[in-house]
Structure formats: C-alpha cells, structure tokens
C-alpha cells in the first residue's frame, strides 16, 4: 500500500476516527459515531447492490510501470474533451441553429451575455488545444512503439478518435455562421465531394441535399453536438477499457530492475 497520508489534508484531532477499544460498548455514543455508522451503512447498502468496490479498488490500486510525463497526454486529451463538452452545453443553451438566427444568437452571446465571449473563447481555443494534444498523444504512442502487440486495436480506436475529432472541428466551424465559416464550409464540403465512391454521398449528406440550404446548418449542429460526441464518448470508453485491461506501456528504454527468473 502506498503512503496515502501525505496526500490527505490535515484533519483536526476532534474529527479523527478513533479505533474502538476491545470490550467497549459497540453501540454508537455520540452524534459523530452515529454519522460514521450511517455513512458505512449507506456505502455498504449501495455496494451490496452495485458490486463495484472490487472493480474500483482494482482500477485505483493496479500497478502501472514507471513512466514519464508524456504518459499524461492521453488524459489531457480527455480532459480537453470534457472541457469542450461542458462549455458546449453552455453554448447550446443560447444558440439557435437556424440560418436566420444563428449569427444573431452568437453575436448576442459574444457581446451581451455575461462571460459570453469568454465561454466562446474557451470552446474555440479548447478545440485547438485538443487537436494539438491529440497529435502529441499520437506521436508519443508512435515513437514509444506503444501501438505494438498486444495493443494494436487500441491504436485503431485511437485513429477513429482522431477522425472524429477532426469531424468535430469541421462541423463546429460552420456554427457561428459568419462569412468565414460559411464559405470555408462550402469549399470543405465540395472537397469532400471529390472523395472516392462515398465522396458525393457524403457531401450530399452533410449539405442535406445537393445545395447548401436552410437545413444544412441544423444538420451540422446535430452532427456536432449529438452524433460525433456520442461516438467519441463510446470510443473513449473502449479506449480506456483496453488501456486498463492491457496496462499502460513502459517507456521502451526502461528495463526490469532484476532479471526475470527464467
């Protein structure tokens, strides 16, 4: 067991748990005892039904090989995604995905709403930070050879997540509905249309028809805030599950301290 005490804040003596002496009355005596018993009881009731304490204990206290700071990149991508999700929910409360009102709602949010511009800025630059972190995470995995046996499928899931992240960025770019986003999206959708086989269908799907029309914006909005985030959530779940099952890699230059007994 690691020494957990150094990570805990100092607790006043009066609140510290006192081990009960053998032979003393097991009945709760003070209000604090009562509260302790109630807490234990509630936690026990929940765990008896969820059966989670074993899994949680395993997930928290499983050993991971010694590693360096580049191993935090994966978590920082997920954290950036969570930040995008939270700021995105707040933006969605004020956004109106119709061609007539979208721009106005963004303008109002930016110029008039409390902290509106700050929130948009966090979402807008959060996407940049997330894309950079995705590429760094991928580069680290590549140069450390972490995609090799037995983690091949986790690399494949990671590439799917990369594509989904780019799809998020592409669909989100249109939503403010200013000149720049509108025309960049038209050109982007046209470029998609030149793709092989599925290309023309893909751009028809994105535009919701052969021409860029009134429904295009709501389609981009639905893709941006429902379809792709859902897929990202599911894929992150699978990614994390595999990371926990298979274990994080060790930096390739680290060798076991003592030789294997072979």
């Amino acid at each position: 067991m690691p020494d957990l005490k150094k990570f805990l804040p100092p607790i006043p003596d009066s609140l510290k748990l006192q081990p009960r002496r053998a032979g003393t009355n097991p009945e709760p005596e003070t209000a604090l005892d009562n509260a302790q018993e109630a807490g234990k009881h509630a936690a026990g009731w929940i765990d008896e039904r969820l059966q989670l304490s074993g899994a949680v204990r395993w997930a928290l206290f499983r050993k991971v090989p010694r590693h360096d700071w580049t191993y935090t990149l994966g978590f920082s991508v997920m954290f950036a995604f969570l930040s995008q999700a939270v700021t995105g929910v707040f933006l969605a409360t004020a956004y109106d995905p119709s061609t007539t009102n979208a721009y106005e709602s963004i303008r109002q949010m930016t110029n008039e709403a409390f902290l509106g511009q700050f929130l948009r800025g966090m979402h807008r630059w959060g996407s940049t930070v997330m894309v950079i972190l995705v590429f760094l995470h991928m580069a680290q995995t590549f140069f450390y050879g972490a995609y090799k046996y037995p983690r091949e499928l986790n690399w494949v899931i990671g590439v799917v997540l990369l594509v989904l992240t780019m799809a998020m960025s592409f669909t989100g770019y249109l939503l403010p509905f200013d000149q720049r986003s509108y025309w960049a999206t038209i050109v982007g959708v046209n470029i998609n249309g030149t793709g092989p086989i599925v290309g023309p269908y893909l751009s028809d799907f994105l535009r919701a028809g052969p021409e860029f029309g009134a429904t295009t914006l709501s389609r981009f909005y639905a893709i941006h805030m429902l379809l792709v985030p859902g897929a990202i959530g599911a894929m992150v779940g699978a990614h994390l599950w595999l990371v926990m099952r298979l274990g994080t890699t060790s930096p390739p230059w680290n060798k076991p301290r003592k030789k294997a007994d072979a």
Binding site: K63, Q179, W183, A184, V187, I191, S250
Partner: protein, 244 residues
C-alpha cells in the same frame, strides 16, 4: 512478432508492472496536475485571444476568403501544391486517403518486436518526416495570403464603357476570393485552381460564364451572384474574358 517474442514481451511487461507504482495516487496526481495546466492554457487563450465573429454569412456576397481552421491548412495546402487539374483528385482523394489507411493499419504492417525509437530507424525517420511535412504545409498554408485586390493595367485597346466595365470586373474578381486559389498575372496563389492569366485565350467569354455558374469542385458556384446582381457577374465575365 512471433510467439517467443510475444511471450518475452509479456514476461518483461509483467515484471515492469510489478515493479511499478499504483495508479492511485501516483498517476492520478500527475494527471491532475496536467489537467490544471490544460485548463489554465485554455482559459489564458480564451482571455488573450478571445472569440472573434466576422460579418454575417451572406450567400450572395462576393467578398469572402475560404479559410479553414489552421489545423486543416496542411490538407488545403496539398491542393495548392498539386496543381495540374488531372492530379487534383490525387490531392483530395489520394494523399489523405492513403495517409489515413496507412495510419489505421500501422500496427498490422509494423509488427517488429523492437519498440525503442532509436532501434527502429525506418519508423522513426518516417514519423519525423511526416511531422516536418505537416509542419511545413501548415506553415505554407498560414503564410499564403488571400489578397482581395488585383494590381493590373487595363489593356490599351479598351476605352470608354468597356474600360469601366473591365475595372469593375477587376474589383469584383478581387473581392470574390478568386485569388485564394487562382493566379492572375502576378496576383494570387498558384493553385489549387488553374492559372487565369491567359484564360480568355483558352475559353470564350460564354464558357467562362458557364464555368462560373457551374464550376468544378471545390470551386464555389457564382450562380447566386448572377441572380442577385447580374451586373457584377457580367463585369466579372468581361474582365476574365479580356485575359489573353
């Protein structure tokens, strides 16, 4: 990796894991510190850089610059570098698709047991070269200007109404963002679209107008412009029709 190499790896990994540290609190502590750093970066960027909002999208407008988010520059730049029209599908389809397939299948064709980057010279060199290529293309994409004005002298044969029309067409073409993808004389970017310096010697004005209405992808159509302000469209055609 053959069977022996797999077993060797799993044995060594098991030992490294046994010698490692518990996820909680060591990894959790590091991840938490990084989370604070990421949040601080995002907040700082939001405060310093803000969130700009350009003029409202206007399908009939001709003044626009089709500029993607910066991390798509490298894809956009590919279109610019691969100029011949018959090779454009290679830029839009070929390179990105092949790149993505190679990325997906990486663990299936690179099956060697070695993981140390210095002992995988091919993989490491390829990785570094891809990073440099993407960095270079991104830089080129960022540096490529999108001027909205054309500097050009009118042909001396033009006088009166035709000259006025020519000047007007020059302004409209400049404002329409054509130069983002086309080169006209000394102006604009050479690619993804073809050079327009001598377009009139290849296409009659009628054909130019037809192309503007119904262009090849990814160029946007100017049909809206023709419907909304036909005189701008006519000026555009007459300017382009004089480029020979």
């Amino acid at each position: 990796m053959n069977r022996a190499e797999k077993e060797e790896y799993l044995r060594e990994y098991g030992q490294l894991k046994a010698e490692g540290e518990p996820f909680f609190p060591y990894s959790v502590a590091k991840d938490s510190i990084i989370a604070v750093v990421v949040m601080a970066i995002i907040i700082t960027m939001s405060i310093v850089l803000g969130a700009e909002l350009g003029p409202k999208a206007d399908p009939t407008s001709t003044t626009y610059v089709p500029r993607p988010e910066w991390y798509f520059f490298f894809l956009f730049e590919l279109l610019r570098i691969i100029k011949p029209p018959e090779l454009v599908p290679l830029a839009t389809i070929g390179v990105p698709t092949i790149g993505l397939i190679l990325l997906f299948l990486l663990p299936f064709y690179d099956r060697g047991a070695e993981r140390h980057p210095l002992r995988r010279p091919v993989a490491t060199t390829a990785g570094i070269m891809v990073i440099f290529a993407m960095g270079y293309l991104t830089y080129m994409g960022a540096a490529a200007g999108s001027p909205n004005e054309i500097e050009m002298k009118a042909p001396s044969t033009l006088t009166g109404v035709a000259l006025v029309e020519w000047e007007k067409g020059k302004t409209v073409v400049g404002q329409s963002g054509c130069l983002a993808c086309h080169k006209i004389g000394e102006n604009g970017n050479d690619g993804p679209g073809p050079q327009l310096t001598h377009v009139a010697s290849k296409l009659p004005a009628q054909a130019i107008a037809q192309t503007l209405r119904n262009p090849t992808s990814p160029m946007p159509s100017f049909k809206n412009l023709e419907e909304q302000s036909p005189e701008k469209f006519r000026a555009m055609v007459s300017f382009l029709g004089q480029l020979n």
